[in-house]
Amino acid sequence: MTKKGWKDLPTGGIITKAGSALDFKTGDWRSEKPIWDKEKCTSCLMCFIYCPDSSIQVKDGKMTGIDYDHCKGCGICAKECPVKVIKMEMERR
């Protein structure tokens, strides 16, 4: 991505686009990766509440997956899951 020069940046260091954190992929910071077992998941959404990176994807009240572009692999979801359907595995790249 080409970065803008000082003359082209908005005044005061503000960010004029909402939700721009989406463009910043933090997924590659991960050393461990959460693996979710869809079949056994009860969609209690405890993981959704605890996830510090808003990386638990939910639709119509049901968990649908993990946003690996932004998940940093902290493992809180695995720790908090009451039915233990999220497991942490070593990231393989």
Binding site: K3, W6, K7, L9, T11, I14, A18
Partner: protein
């Protein structure tokens, strides 16, 4: 135009009433307390529609100001000395966020030893914070400059402080010509800011800015400072044209034929004018440059104004412990480094902690300067006025 008997503090409070800012957050400190105390009574009497936020410290006061400014409000506060020092880190944030806040400042020394009287140490401690700094000579100047400051700040999006000399001006009553409320409102116009949290589309204010962008944003700030001189000049010209009085960035007093220039800021300029009249009566070709704006430093204007000078006597009401002399001296000399032929400079630190400076003392250093000018040599580039050895 009606003249009213007002102290410096009353004049600044009156300007604030006429400006009617959206938000004022302040904490009291001598000798600036009266400004916001009087303003608070305007709030409680319903003479303004300002949201007044009493806070528990100056750090909180300026923080609340930054928040309110980001929300798109026209914001003012008042402070002095230790209060300005306590604001220090947030002053940089206000500048970096390009929040056009205006502070009515009253110059007072910094502790220790504790002292409540005038010198310029407090605002000199903030001179690198990215704020425009205007130094008023008297109550009239303070009143007019506060009104101008709103326009300036909201044009270049830089916070601005206007200061008066503590007690000497803040508590001295004199006649002040007061504009009509409508004239002030028409002059300042509606509030303008670079952005607003309530401006429509959502924005993020104050995000982390690392190696990749911080430098560019600071460069923007530098550019705003560089170009603000044009705005300062334009706003003053408009004020002058509308109301018949104004304050040039550097005011020249009897400099036309002068080869010896005295430089000063604040109330001392008025006293120096009398000393200059006195020396001129003796045939000394001396003039005064009143530095009305210290930030941005008007180096180009000074180069021009000092182009015919052979000797410059600088009066500094603060010492920044650089061991090279006071800030006016250091910066003016730097500005004139490339100038040929070389100008001789002598710096005098005076008036720390409110020590009086009188006409005779200024006349004496002018005489000393005349001697050094003839000798073509400065014996002591840094000396003191009114100091016991």
């Amino acid at each position: 135009m009606p003249r009213r008997a007002l102290t410096g503090n009353e004049a600044m409070a009156e300007a604030m009433r006429q400006i009617n800012p959206d938000v004022v957050a302040a904490y009291p400190i001598t000798p600036a307390t009266e400004i916001v105390q009087i303003f608070a009574s305007f709030v409680s009497d319903g003479l303004v529609t300002t949201q007044f936020i009493p806070v528990e410290s100056e750090h909180s006061a300026i923080s609340a100001c930054v928040g309110a400014s980001a929300a798109g409000a026209r914001v003012m506060t008042g402070t002095s000395s230790q209060g300005l020092a306590l604001m220090h880190e947030v002053l940089y944030q206000a500048a970096g966020l390009r929040a056009p806040i205006v502070i009515c400042e009253v110059n007072r020394s910094l502790s220790a030893p504790i002292n409540i009287h005038c010198d310029h140490s407090d605002t000199m401690g903030s001179k690198e914070a990215g704020w425009i700094q205007i130094y008023a000579e008297d109550s009239q100047d303070a009143y007019d400059s506060v009104i101008q400051a709103i326009r300036i700040a909201e044009t270049v999006f830089l916070p601005t402080m206007v200061s008066t000399d503590g007690f000497i001006i803040s508590h001295c009553m004199q006649g002040v010509e007061i504009l009509e409320d409508k004239q002030v409102q028409d002059f300042i116009g509606p509030h303008r800011s670079a952005y607003s949290l309530f401006g429509g589309a959502p924005i993020t204010v104050g995000p982390l800015d690392l190696q990749d962008y911080y430098f560019e944003h600071r460069r923007q700030l530098m550019e705003a400072m560089n170009t603000s001189l044009t705005t300062l000049d334009a706003v003053n010209k408009e004020f002058k044209q509308k109301f018949g009085r104004g304050y040039d960035i550097i005011e020249e007093y009897k400099t036309e034929d002068a080869d010896h220039i005295v430089m000063a800021m604040g109330s001392t300029c008025g006293t120096a004018k009398v000393a200059i009249d006195k020396m001129r009566a003796k045939g000394v070709k001396v003039g005064l440059i009143k530095l009305h704006v210290f930030r941005p430093f008007p180096h180009e204007q000074l180069k021009k104004a000092l182009s015919k000078a052979k000797f410059v006597t600088v009066l500094d009401r603060s010492d920044t412990a650089s061991s090279m002399g006071g800030p006016i001296f250091v910066e003016t000399r730097a500005a004139l480094y490339d100038q040929m032929p070389k100008i001789l400079f002598a710096d005098y630190i005076y008036g720390l902690g409110g020590r009086d400076i009188d006409i005779e003392e200024i006349a004496t250093v002018i005489e000393k300067g005349e001697k050094m000018k003839l000798q073509g040599k400065v014996e002591k580039p840094l000396d003191y006025i009114g100091l016991r050895e």
